[in-house]
């Protein structure tokens, strides 16, 4: 079943008098429950594509449908609602809120959805246990290592049970061992929580974890191949 459909998507940026063609016409679909990786060199348009699918940017041309809804037609509030209820984000630099402790960081999306405290505390505790950070529940982000922070970010992305998790180079700032741990956690949660993962990466080890790999170059898809996990 198709969760996201990307059709003829182009994205241009204007830098002074220069127009940068970040995406030149991209077509693909993301299936529900898939673990899909977008790979390619720096500047090929990976992050741009994820931003467009994640409703934090709009395409210059083309259509992106999320569960059949054209996201280009959404206003600011509808986009925010879409992100809040259906999408989870994992960032390269973890992007945790420094003044909140780990539990509060994880439950933050549920606070925005107005979930009762008891329910969100329980859910946050479950996810912190799933990523192996229960003992750090009361710590602040700056008391954790990079790998631990990224695991917090993974827990946060899942806490509100989104349909899709977008991870932009989630292992870029991690060593190979930690990267493997993080990828394993994501894979396990993909299976356990039945949530779709879409992530960009340079890391060759993702081939072990991905169902499909989209190769992007100069704003165009050069190929789509199956990952080793299939």
């Amino acid at each position: 079943m198709e969760l996201v459909t990307v059709e003829g998507v182009k994205k241009d940026y204007t830098l002074g008098k220069t127009i940068i063609h970040a995406l030149r016409g991209v077509d693909f679909t993301v299936e529900t429950g898939e673990f899909l990786s977008i790979v390619g060199p720096s500047g090929c348009g990976k992050t741009t594509l994820l931003n467009l699918i994640g409703c934090i940017d709009t395409p210059t041309e083309g259509t992106i449908r999320f569960e059949g809804t054209d996201i280009a037609g959404l206003n600011d509030n509808q986009e925010a609602d879409m992100r809040l209820h259906k999408i989870g984000f994992i960032f390269q630099s973890f992007n945790l809120i420094p003044v909140l402790n780990i539990t509060e960081n994880v439950e933050f999306p549920m606070i925005l959805t107005g979930t009762p405290k008891q329910e969100r505390r329980q859910r946050a505790a479950e996810l912190l246990e799933a990523v192996g950070l229960s003992e750090y529940a009361a710590h602040k982000p700056d008391e954790l290592s990079g790998g631990q922070r990224q695991r917090v970010a993974i827990a946060r992305s899942l806490v509100h049970k989104p349909k899709l998790i977008i991870a932009d180079e989630p292992t870029a700032n991690l060593d190979s061992e930690t990267s493997r741990t993080v990828m394993s956690i994501m894979q396990r949660l993909n299976e356990k929580e039945k949530v779709t993962f879409l992530f960009s990466t340079h890391n060759p080890l993702v081939i072990e974890y991905a169902h499909r790999i989209i190769e992007l170059q100069d704003g165009l898809i050069r190929g789509i191949k199956e990952g080793e996990r299939v």
Partner: protein
């Protein structure tokens, strides 16, 4: 609740800037409250002195206002008791109607003398409260006696003329027949009014003694009226004119009598308003800068929140909440510093010398605390911080989420 927590924790994590903002609000509230305490004190002193010294309405014989000689007895009101009775019968809202007599005199004791103004007043007068309340020796024109009640002088004049309580002092006047005439009165009261002008320029006799001295057995120079509501002065003055039809009198309200002082108060209000606005602008600018720096340091953090699903208006209020919290804390501290000062100066006052005398008719200037002003000033402190946050919040919400996530 989480937004308040984020706001407060952010204030803590950027404590240097937080202190700067709180200090700016504190100073603003301190100045606003101190200035308003001063202004309230000025207004209160002004109106109190107005009411006590001049009443709400004064009636004189026609021509009195343009008289050439200050203490002339040519403009006298005959049969004042009949007139007062008529006014009391026909007018509502009168608290007090009194007859007064102003005249020039020479006080003589031993080989010293002093040219001064005499004031004949009813012994149970409600005017000249600063004199009555400032009595330091003797009594104030004992109202039980119908015969001569003696003279009430300031301590300064007693010192000048070498007088003590019970001593006799000769009062020399030019009577209503334009003849020199004098009588001797015992000093029955000595006062210190707090006003250098009053202490050095006026002495008091009972109205009946003044009538005898000036040879004006059934006349006075002025009728002074206090109303229960000074805002009715104009309407009441109009009715008095109607009642006095056919007779030649000048009827003036407190606003006509004190026009220049009222203009002075209004001008002072405007100047203080401009100073307050200036303070608010300076404080708001400092706060805007500091909050902008806070916001730009956390652009990625805000971007992350928006990527997660935080709406623009929620982000706007988050920034405003931070500013408002700082405004609230700064206002509390500003009030904590300014209120004791205002209340201390309300109770003890302070002297600006001649300026105090000019402004409030007393050498000591008393501040006055006003609950309404305190609430307004406290709210102003919070609003200054909110105004300072407004631009930062607006800029922040206008930023694109993608831009904010790229922000370094």
């Amino acid at each position: 609740m989480i937004f308040l927590k984020i706001a407060l924790l952010n204030l803590k994590s950027h404590y240097k800037r937080t202190i700067l903002i709180i200090f700016a609000v504190l100073i603003s509230v301190f100045v606003l409250e101190s200035v308003s305490g001063m202004m309230e004190g000025l207004r209160h002193s002004f109106f109190q002195s107005l009411m006590q010294e001049g009443g709400h309405i004064q009636i004189h014989k026609a021509g009195w206002k343009d008289r050439l000689q200050q203490f002339t007895l040519d403009y006298r009101i005959d049969e004042p008791d009949r007139l007062i009775s008529e006014l009391k019968t026909n007018l509502d809202g009168l608290v007090r109607v009194e007859k007064l007599m102003s005249f020039g005199a020479l006080l003589i004791h031993e080989d010293k003398n002093l040219a001064i103004m005499g004031q004949g007043i009813e012994p149970d007068t409600t005017f000249f409260s600063s004199v009555r309340e400032g009595l330091v020796e003797g009594s104030f024109l004992n109202p039980d006696e119908n015969s001569r009640t003696g003279i009430v002088l300031s301590r300064a004049i007693c010192g000048l003329l070498n007088l003590s309580l019970g001593d006799g002092v000769v009062v020399l006047v030019e009577d209503s027949e334009d003849s020199p005439y004098y009588l001797e009165y015992p000093v029955t009261g000595i006062f210190e009014s707090g006003s250098k002008q009053t202490d050095e320029q006026i002495f008091f006799l009972s109205h009946s003694d003044a009538q005898e001295l000036l040879y004006l057995p059934d006349a006075t120079t002025e009728i002074r009226i206090t109303l229960n509501d000074r805002s009715h002065a104009s309407g009441t003055a109009g009715k008095i004119v109607d009642i006095l039809t056919g007779e030649q009198y000048e009827v003036e309200t407190w606003t006509e009598l004190n026009g220049s002082f009222i203009v002075f108060i209004e001008m002072f209000d405007v100047i203080m308003f401009i100073i307050n606005i200036f303070i608010i602008i300076v404080a708001a600018t400092v706060i805007t800068n500091a909050i902008l720096m806070n916001v730009f340091e956390r652009v990625r953090e805000y971007g992350t929140m928006r990527a997660i699903g935080l709406k623009k208006r929620q982000l706007f209020w988050l920034v405003m909440l931070e500013g408002g919290s700082q405004g609230f804390i700064g206002s509390i501290l500003g009030m904590a510093l300014s209120l004791p000062l205002v209340i201390y100066l309300q109770n003890h006052g302070f002297s600006w010398g001649a300026l105090s005398e000019f402004m409030v008719g007393s050498s000591t200037y008393y501040f006055r605390f006003s609950y309404i002003q305190a609430v307004i000033n406290f709210t102003s402190g919070v609003l200054i911080a909110l105004a300072g946050s407004l631009y930062a919040a607006f800029v922040n919400t206008k930023m694109n989420v993608v831009e904010t996530l790229r922000f370094t």
